[in-house]
Amino acid sequence: MTTISMTVNGKAVTGNVEPRTLLVQFLRENLRLTGTHVGCDTSQCGACVVHVDGAAVKSCTMLAVSCDGSNVTTIEGLANGAELHPMQAAFREHHGLQCGFCTPGMIMSAVDMVNRLGPDLDEKTIREELEGNICRCTGYHNIVKAVEAGAQAMGATGQRVAAE
């Protein structure tokens, strides 16, 4: 077992893990942050996307020990208290979800997209940037609309990710 420490959603956390423990296991099982979902187990569906030191990462692909000393944000850390992050609010308002299982990963990828590319995203860019996130329910149309609206709202408030 190895002792690791990191900041998750603004809070300092410490845990004992086996070296092979994945970041997603550490988040879900040790920290009980179950909003990060496991869809495919093999880094393809994107349901497990979180931010590590400001960049989107599929947390089923990263070892927890590699995040020792890092700053991690999960879907639970995005809202500012009771106030939703603009991207969260956009997904709710624009019906960017059905079963909701892919939603946390979609939102984390979308926020990362805005952080990297700015708030003025065209539809083609959004669709290509979302290729690593699979949704089986919506047909993506409302997700793309939500990302577009969420990006603009982030731009209007000058907001990057909360807690980063």
């Binding site: 187990d41 089986r136 047909g139 409302n142």
Partner: protein, 774 residues
Amino acid sequence: MRPNDHPAPGGVQLRHVSQPLPHDSAAKHVQGAAPYIDDLPEPAGTLHLAVGGSPMARGRLIAVDLEKVRAVPGVVAVLTAADVPGKNDISPAFGDEPLFAHGHVMFHGQPVFAVAAETRDAARRAARLGAITVVQEKPAVTVEDAEKRGDTVLPDYAFIRGDASAAIDAAPNQIAGQFRIGGQEHFYLEGQVALAIPGEDGAMHVHTSTQHPTEVQHVCARILGLPDAMVTAEVRRMGGGFGGKESQASQWAAMAALAARVTGRPCKIRLDRDDDMAMTGKRHDFRVDYAVGFDDEGRIQGVEMAFLARCGCSADLSQGVVDRTMFHADASYFLPELIISSRRLKTNTVSNTAFRGFGGPQGMLAMERIIDEIACRLGRDPLDVRKVNHYGPERDTTPYGMTVEDHDVGAAILEQLERSSNYRERREAIAGFNASSPILRKGIALTPVKFGISFTLTQLNQAGALVHVYSDGSVQLNHGGTEMGQGLYQKVAQVVAEEFGVGMDRVRVTATTTDKVPNTSPTAASSGSDLNGMAARMAARQIRDRLAILAGEHFGVPAKEVVFRDDHAFAGNESLPFAELARRAHAARIHLSAAGHYKTPKLHWDRQKGVGRPFFYFAYGAACAEVVIDTLTGENRVLRVDILHDVGRSLNPAIDIGQIEGGFVQGMGWLTTEELVYDKDGRLRTHAPSTYKIPVASDVPADFRVTLFDGENREETVYRSKAVGEPPLMLANAVFCAIADAVQSIAPGRPVPLDAPATPEAILKAIQGIVAAG
């Protein structure tokens, strides 16, 4: 006029029903705060299961050596068929599928044993160490293999009218051919999962990700040898279902329940994605052999269609699925004389099962391809051939003897979409483009959808609901329908809030569970809101009627003059807050709880004779798709899609449009990129998203126009709405037909040998075929 602007019958403006409210859990989903089963806090001592599957597709199971499995640290129990105290059978109806293989194996990956361990990791590592000895026999993998052996899971079945063979021969034109239609993996994002918690007196509480909690209850009870009353199955939400959690959830729930029984500890199973894809059933794939005779306008005189279904190793739901293929082999067209036959072939592959459309899409697609071939032979626009064959006056009886009473709705949708999509102008423009584009070719198609709504097993067309009003005026709602993302909980809550005239915030929806509403039907056949919406309304209405009597006494008016709206009961200018009325009702000893039960009217179906009215009504729609293909590589893109779809008076237009968009894209995946490949040994080679490609955001056309048809359900459904879950999937037939149209442009007049799915390889093969035919 948008659908949600319509006043209710009687002119009352609705407060909740028809409003585009978000999904009931939307605010939680965007925060990762809506728990799925794997997210629930695990009770102390919870064990995790992993499954050991058969290494062969067919053979005698002669030894299962599990010593190494047991020796792994953390392993608490290993389960096989010998541990089943009840009946080793997880089948939904026909008694032909075991929880664990015993004596022989039926498909590659079939569960043989399960390991219960302290951690998921230990269980999965241990499961790899089982030594399973099978004396291999040659498996039947394809429908041809099964035909040779004469193996079926259920008897053959056919609809026959007139003398199809004579009608075909007598017709001025004939075509005969063969068409293959692939299956489809559900790829619900949340894999199969269950958590079983043992209770007192041997009872079992099972959290299960299922569309059919009652069946999970029955199967767990059967495996454990318990009365149904000792098992409770509960599901708050699924991360997608699509039919893949109708019968397919039972096995994992039963495995968890058995492990909980044997160990006395809570047990959880979550299949990893590869196991999920290898061990659970999929959409049926088909070979269709057909012959058709038609006049010079393309009007069908007689048709023979033989559907050979790969059912897999057991019957599962294949009776209903393949029946529904036959029910939809007419697509939207009148077939004067016909033989529509089916064989349910038994293969050594995982048992195929329900998948959105339940066999209907395969029947409908086969007929649309026949129409395309007729158009090709006659040199007519396929849309014109569709129109001359469409159901109409005097031509309104289906192959199963049901009259299509509202064929004018389907026809109106076709006409309206033809205009709004500029179909004719675009077809001309595409012909111009193709004339000067040797490599890239475009195609267009406009295809209709007519989908029968009701379970064809008549007894399933019933639902129950339970509504409580508490003395503070808050309302709790429960019904037999399950939430898999389709927005059912919200739609039914809208109906109940409307009934009491209260705000949505007052209505609390609780998890679907067999101890609140028993004997439920699966949430399937698109019937969720039709059935449960009505049952919940009936429950709410009973309580409201009791409250109206009390309020009437208070106001000194007859009960029928009391109106419930704006969180008050009104009589003339007087009003009582709803909460105050509930408090007074409790004080007056009035029962504030009610169960509602609904059964769909008008249904009768004699399967033996093949006649009756299996469907309460039809849902209609149409889609126009434009595509481009690269004739050198087979690569393709959908450029634009126009959809006009009939949901009656929508209960929630935002949710309905989401169903239409999502259903269409799922259908597009089925017909373009999603390909299941079994090797000659019966192993599924496409068992992960790395090899099985479902659509991603960039595959979906940016130009995607969805409109709701303006009309109400002519039958008395809840607020005159129509079912919406499955029908939109078949709108994607337009994509397949448009791809075929693009291939057709290479050699007009020659049949396009394109099978489904139209992958780049299939398109290239079709191009080579059509060129070689010259």
